[in-house]
């Protein structure tokens, strides 16, 4: 098999890799914020439940979570969700990444000085106005390096979808490698991931620069 052939075969899976990546970001970033806010809730029950959620999501391998979300519904309730595999894969990834993002958001939010809330109150801002207009924009600025870390990891983690035989780029690469007894697909995969992450880092870098006003 020619290198060109391998690349074109693997790029068929690249669409699925991108689908996991973009859809996971789309769902996990807002979900993470919600989880962070619940985690900081004054209601002890709510915060304990969210705390447990975060510790389970961070404390178990993503591989097992993928298996649980894809095949769990059948063994527990007899529902087969595995036919349209993108859905359980994205749910598992989003739940997992939301837990990590939540802790990043929390770190950002808690780093804001109390004085800002007090000043906003004095100026007549409501609690939600204060959070949306004053706190959140600053939090976003601060957490960008940490979020970039997670996003870059996500690009590489998409390959874990092979666990449930989702035919993304790396799964196909593995098939070619073992069928053709060649190491080349792994080299190609490495280049693919590197270029993908290079673009991601570049984009996030630009965003960071754009947001570094008042400096």
């Amino acid at each position: 098999m020619t290198v060109w052939m391998m690349m074109s075969k693997m790029s068929e899976g690249l669409g699925r890799t991108c689908a996991i990546f973009f859809l996971t970001l789309l769902f996990s970033l807002p979900l993470g914020l919600l989880v962070a806010l619940l985690r900081m809730s004054k209601n002890k029950v709510v915060s304990a439940i969210t705390k447990a959620y975060i510790s389970i999501m961070r404390g178990t391998p993503l591989m097992l979570q993928l298996l649980a979300v894809t095949y769990g519904p059948y063994y527990l309730f007899g529902i087969r969700v595995a036919q349209q595999k993108l859905i359980p894969v994205v749910i598992a990834f989003s739940l997992n990444y939301a837990a990590y993002f939540a802790e990043i958001y929390r770190g950002g939010i808690e780093s804001m000085s109390k004085g800002q809330y007090e000043a906003a109150q004095v100026l007549g801002y409501s609690r939600s106005q204060c959070f949306n207009r004053i706190i959140l924009p600053q939090v976003i600025k601060r957490i960008i390096p940490a979020v970039t870390n997670e996003v870059v990891t996500l690009v590489k983690d998409t390959s874990i979808a092979f666990t449930v035989a989702y035919q993304e780029m790396f799964t196909i690469g593995k098939q070619i490698a073992n069928s053709q007894t060649s190491f080349m697909p792994f080299v190609i995969a490495g280049v693919f991931y590197f270029v993908f992450n290079f673009i991601v880092s570049w984009g996030m870098g630009r965003l960071e620069k754009r947001l570094s006003y008042y400096r």
């Binding site: 075969k9 973009f22 349209q84 993108l86 098939q175 069928s179």
Partner: protein, 273 residues
């Protein structure tokens, strides 16, 4: 606020990209279900039974046999590459209708209720001896003359995993012979005391020669079969019937030759003749 606009812009682009990808991926496999589709679950990394060829399509002995079986039954074949570690889980989830990919039949699968086809490929290596040679266990082979056919999996086994065993043989290694007929003749004539050989061949030789016996202890047992879901006995029967037809019309042998599989391992061939 220019920066806020930029942020919203990025979010909008992300959202649109995600939605477009999702729509494309979700709408595409909307197949019409008019004809029966037989979904074959394969390990796409297992040549020569199932693998990806030069052109990037799935081929192999099992894949081609399945295609022929589907043609006979008028089914539409769909290949589903699976994760071998979770093959039974995805089978339960109806992602595919069978596991058919050089799969070793395990008793634990039967116990768990899965429907298994007959064995269509036999990799079991056994020891064939003659009555009166005083060999009833593998340990008895020490100091004896043992033959093996050149270039078979039996030879590979004796030079690899069973190296320690073959060191106990007379001369410290097995004698290699051109083909299994010579092995049989030599054994009958007393030229060697035992022969390491594929189980189907051992069976046919012991029918041909008098007093041959196969040791109960074997050197590694492997029989390939097809696994179906619990309750799919009818499906299994249909596949088996078509498979038997393919054995009889020679497709089985032809495809085995095409993929370089040893004829010795084609256990259905000896049964059919």
């Amino acid at each position: 606020m220019k920066n806020k606009k930029l942020l919203y812009g990025i979010i909008a682009v992300l959202a649109v990209a995600a939605i477009v990808i999702a729509v494309v991926l979700l709408t595409r496999p909307a197949a019409k279900k008019e004809e029966t589709v037989f979904k074959m679950g394969i390990d796409a990394e297992y040549p020569p039974f199932s693998y990806m060829d030069e052109k990037g399509s799935y081929v192999g002995f099992d894949v081609d046999m399945c295609k022929a079986v589907c043609d006979l039954n008028g089914w539409k074949m769909e290949i589903v590459p699976i994760n071998w570690d979770t093959k039974l889980i995805s089978l339960d989830n109806k992602e595919h209708d069978c596991v058919w990919s050089g799969m070793t039949i395990l008793d634990s699968m039967k116990t768990a209720g899965y429907v298994l086809s007959y064995a269509y490929f036999d990799n079991t290596q056994v020891v064939l001896t003659k009555e009166g040679n005083g060999i009833s266990t593998l340990a008895d082979l020490a100091g004896k003359k043992v033959a093996v056919q050149l270039g078979t999996s039996g030879q590979a086994l004796l030079e690899g995993d069973q190296k320690e065993l073959s060191a106990t043989f007379n001369g410290g290694a097995a004698v290699t012979m051109e083909n299994f007929n010579i092995c049989g003749t030599e054994l009958d004539a007393g030229g060697v005391d035992a022969v390491v050989i594929d189980l189907p061949v051992a069976k046919s030789l012991s029918e041909k020669f008098k007093g041959f016996q196969i040791l109960e202890e074997n050197l590694g047992s492997e029989q390939y079969g097809i696994c179906f879901r619990k309750g799919d006995d009818d499906l299994c029967k249909k596949v088996e019937e078509a498979y038997t037809k393919l054995v009889k019309d020679g497709t089985y042998k032809k495809l085995a030759e095409k993929y370089g599989l040893s004829e010795n391992s084609l256990c259905l061939l000896t049964a059919a003749n």
